[in-house]
Symmetry: C2
């Protein structure tokens, strides 16, 4: 569809942006042609890597690209897992927002203006020192950017209670087709004027335009936090426990789930003293100092009569020990096999105890090691297939197994992705999830913002 | 643009839907040609009032209307304040969802499937008995419908902490152009597959299609609630107090503001013992039994040193007394003048003490009584101009004053509407708020869902 980019358009980009913002060295082009996607995907060396420094730079960039028909592949930190930031055609340019990394917090308004290249963790640390809180916590938060988080509508454990990234984006500045600037929303929480273009751009994975700044909502930072570990002998009791907690008035800030194989993997790797059980839940609550104690007591009273073993933490050290099981999962899985496909399907949590055995059947049929963990409160399960990276045949089996997992998720009224986005790797399932009429609407929206298909072409929607 | 509807298409509607669902009596047509909008608006007698009873009925209805070019004006309870539910052309039909009033709560999944005609308060009472909570609380909640709330993206005091209606809509079924059915979202909290059509339909005021059911998110019901009343001698201290509270870790579930004129109106009407002060805040907190006490104590410690008088409630009765000031505002204003334009602009709360005197200037210039109250935490101010209904000249003055208030709101980086929607009455300001490029996107989205402009034509966007 796209050829190789000619010299002339590149010269034009250098002319309007300045040479220092357009890098055409082979090293840089190669560096910026990857992201964190674990499986082989379509990938091309871009013609250049562009480093805009302002909204005006982005306007100039998009204007030239729209005139010359140059595909643009926006990039935050490249920590995405579905190929969202990867250039797929040689004619394209990668647009890296790393130099647009300023932010400005307005404490009195509890909002912040942020550029897309701000590192999420740095922003969070800053606002927390001011007594404020920006909850979205994708596991990549230490290096991922707010721009990438917004493009992917990033989630994380805390989103059960606090909502996903979309709910914290009050407004956006963006550049769409022909270099047109749009400004959506305002630094206010309530705004019902017109259709919500802001929320439409959040999660659009860079396919509708380039976001140049965002107005984020901040909330009061909870004063205290506490965790309990609950150990289950029966998978079906997990769902019952969650219902009991939810209907008791306790709103956990995280409900992290690990299945028997995940627990085993951790204990084999670095024992933390977990017994052989079917599943565990790490239950975190936050709020005032007194309310977290009250919540923990209520959780214990609810779950102990079910025969669930509860472990509580008396201090910060013991709490970290409780979380160590969850935190050592990554290295534990890496220890088992060199390759891992970590999918992020979502199923209504009522189907959990029915669906997990079906996922296990899939793993058995494809003769694969599988480990499940995830954010049980919102039904977001990370189904991990492990394989040997050197064994292409095993890798292909894992890819086929993942397809069946997607199909199961959709059959259970769920979604193919709760956090990672569609990108390149899940495109073929999107039409199934949306139906023909819905899919045509997605294509219509894309056409409206990007009639030449130059913003991250080939992502989300199939060409 | 539209003429009167011929007999033939009406017969066709009766044929496909059944006579009992198509009412053409003059009485009914007249009854359904109004909503709660307080100012004179364009209004027409519809050709018929349609009462669909199922998604299939709506598909049939939209198919015929799309074939025959019949405008459809969807209606919940008609409690809207901007003309959203009002038919504007005689050729049109009103689509009343009052017979689609079933709902089904899934406690284990903390979600509900609801039809558009369900009364909000009835739904809320039901889920609260199950220990769950549906927070959106527009002041019309006792009679407004969930369908209307979704169409308008309804807010309310509690939305400061809990978010607006949009954040509770996980999925929708709707019928768009040509009678096409679409299903968006799923009964899960996290879903990042494709563009968010669900959130686009929420707040679209019936202009993109007809919503036939929704999947709503429910959360744990807080176990306790408490209120304090704070009395301010200086307007600028209100903003300072809100910042102090927000950065202390206390997240109020409501922060209701009343200005000096609002307080005076209440005291003149039915004295509740409020002193002459510049402003008051009703601060509500919720959570666990212990945390609400802790929160109240913190608020007192923060505000007392500022010279702010704090009144707390020791029991349920005293608490209701605190709220009585806010609750008797409506009748108090009705007592002053027969007519009231209650606008719902939003301005970032940092500009509050600067903007309120400017609003007062406007009222003085037009020689009007004005009272301001609202949800200060989210900057949503209800600016009320009072006038004599029999005095058309005074009414016109009030309408012109409102225009200036909208202009001020936009100048302060705010919005023309935080809760009531655009409808008919605020259309002319929408382009200003969105800019030309943004406004063209709105029109493009409308065209995509409704190429014949038959869903609530003339609302939100100007023809």
């Amino acid at each position: 569809m796209f050829g190789v980019l000619k010299r002339k358009p590149l010269d034009k980009l250098m002319e309007v942006l300045g040479k220092g913002k357009v890098n055409t060295s082979l090293v840089e082009r190669r560096l910026y042609s990857y992201d964190a996607t674990p499986i082989p995907i379509q990938r091309a060396l871009p013609s250049a890597v562009i480093f805009p420094e302002s909204h005006e730079d982005v306007v100039k960039l998009v204007s030239v690209c729209y005139e010359e028909g140059i595909p643009m592949f926006p990039r935050g930190a490249g920590s995405g897992l579905t190929g969202g930031a990867v250039p797929t055609v040689e004619k394209g340019v990668v647009v890296s927002f790393e130099r647009m990394n300023h932010f400005d917090v307005n404490v009195d308004n509890a909002t912040a203006e942020v550029q897309p290249g701000v590192i999420t963790a740095q922003f969070q640390e800053y606002v927390e020192k001011l007594g404020l809180f920006y909850p979205p916590d994708p596991s990549s938060f230490k290096y991922s950017t707010l721009g990438g988080n917004i493009a992917e509508n990033a989630g994380g454990p805390r989103c059960l209670k606090y909502g996903v990234t979309r709910e914290y984006v009050l407004g956006l500045s963006a550049v769409i087709k022909d270099g047109l600037s749009i400004k959506t929303g305002n630094p206010v929480i309530k705004d019902v004027a017109g259709y919500d273009i802001t929320k439409l751009l959040v999660g659009s994975e860079g396919t509708l335009g380039l976001i140049t700044s965002a107005t984020l909502k901040l909330i009061p930072k909870p004063r205290a936090r506490a965790t309990v570990l609950a150990l289950f002998d029966k998978l079906e009791d997990v769902g019952k426990a969650v219902t009991k907690i939810f209907t008791s008035g306790v709103f956990p800030s995280a409900l992290e789930f690990m299945d028997a194989d995940a627990i085993k993997a951790v204990e084999d790797y670095k024992p933390v003293g977990l017994p052989k059980v079917e599943a565990l839940l790490l239950i975190e609550v936050d709020g005032s100092h007194q309310s977290v104690q009250e919540d923990i007591r209520i959780i214990e009273e609810l779950l102990r009569p079910m025969g669930v073993e509860i472990r509580t933490a008396k201090n910060r050290e013991e709490e970290e020990k409780l979380w160590s099981a969850r935190k050592s999962l990554g290295p534990a899985l890496g220890n088992l096999k060199s390759g891992k496909i970590n999918e992020d399907i979502v199923i209504p949590r009522i189907y959990l105890s029915e669906a997990i055995p079906k996922f296990r059947e899939v793993a058995q049929r494809y003769n694969l090691l599988m480990v499940i963990f995830g954010h049980i409160g919102d039904g977001n399960l990370h189904v991990n297939f492990l394989y040997d990276k050197a064994n292409r045949e095993e890798e292909e089996r894992a890819e086929r197994a993942v397809d069946e997992v997607f199909e199961l998720a959709l059959r259970y009224n769920g979604s193919i992705t709760g956090e990672h986005g569609v990108g390149l790797t899940k495109r073929k399932f999107l039409r199934w999830q949306f139906g023909d009429a819905g899919y045509e609407l997605l294509k219509g929206i894309k056409l409206l913002f990007d009639p030449k298909n130059l913003f991250n072409p080939g992502k989300v929607l199939e060409d």
